[in-house]
Symmetry: C2
Subunit: 180 residues, 2 copies
């Protein structure tokens, strides 16, 4: 196997609306890996509407291989990273990487590194001084990958915890139905 | 002391560019409370540019009291909440509350609740199904406040950790200077 075959000529490019079905497929694969597949409620249509109408809620890059390198079940979109811009009141502009995923049969070929590198480049180009993301504490291979590239675990070092109000709680908050 | 004096006629309104100096003052007060004041690098000018030019990186609401209720040192802007819209590949549109702050002398009057309620309303109005935020693990009064309103601690329940690449690490990533 020559080098060209071992490392397919992957291209990283901005996602298009017609990639949404492939991205949702990989979102589901990632959630299954994270043991939280029941949490996925997104649809192709929802993802397309939220990313490709005015004032999009996210941006995304995909990793694409040539047809001759496609996956066993025929996919040429073999990875993605979904991101958006956020803000730190301490440091200013941030880029937030919501997901970084490469299909298992395409791992070990540097595709995840290329996606991460692209996110860092996009962030720097927008004047961001931080790239943030979240990872599950048991996902040691991912955490070791990120720590090895210079990431800091803010939960471990500073004690930051992530919180969420779901829709029902939001409605109670918005309605001012305070318990005390 | 009558009820009107005990609960000042606070108004919650979107921030304006000329509020930025007051917001930066409160950002510093909050960082001091969080024992991380050295991390604040934001300037009035930076905050103004990032929030009030095309494609703003954040939005903000402030809590304002009438002049007769101003703080001991003369402030009428006595609280703020800075937020932006993010995205969950599982649930769709999110609103993220970066900061929620009320000056100590104005606490216990429901102003924090009004700010939080406003963020929930804004999020629901935009079709968001989640309101997310982060808190420091030792800040029990804040955490108890949020848990009492229905928030879920995702770090405790699911094991999510927050990570950050700072600017130097981003430049190494972007330059493709991979160690392996």
């Amino acid at each position: 196997m020559d080098q060209a075959t071992a490392t397919p000529a992957v291209s990283i490019r901005p996602s298009r609306a017609d990639d949404c079905a492939e991205i949702v497929r990989m979102i589901r694969e990632l959630a299954e890996f994270e043991n939280l597949p029941e949490q996925v409620e997104i649809s192709d249509q929802g993802l397309c509407k939220d990313g490709f109408s005015q004032d999009p809620f996210y941006k995304c890059v995909v990793a694409e291989v040539p047809p001759q390198c496609r996956s066993k079940d025929g996919h040429t979109i073999v990875g993605y990273s979904l991101y958006f811009f956020t803000y730190s009141t301490w440091k200013g502009r941030n880029i937030y990487m919501e997901d970084l995923y490469v299909m298992p049969e395409f791992r070990g070929k540097g595709i995840g590194k290329k996606l991460l590198s692209t996110i860092a480049e996009i962030g720097l180009g927008k004047g961001c001084t931080q790239l943030k993301f979240a990872a599950l504490d048991w996902n040691r291979s991912a955490i070791d990958f990120y720590l090895g590239k210079g990431a800091v675990d803010l939960t471990a070092t500073e004690g930051w915890h992530m919180f969420r109000f779901e829709a029902d709680a939001m409605r109670r908050l918005a309605g001012g139905q305070w318990d005390n």
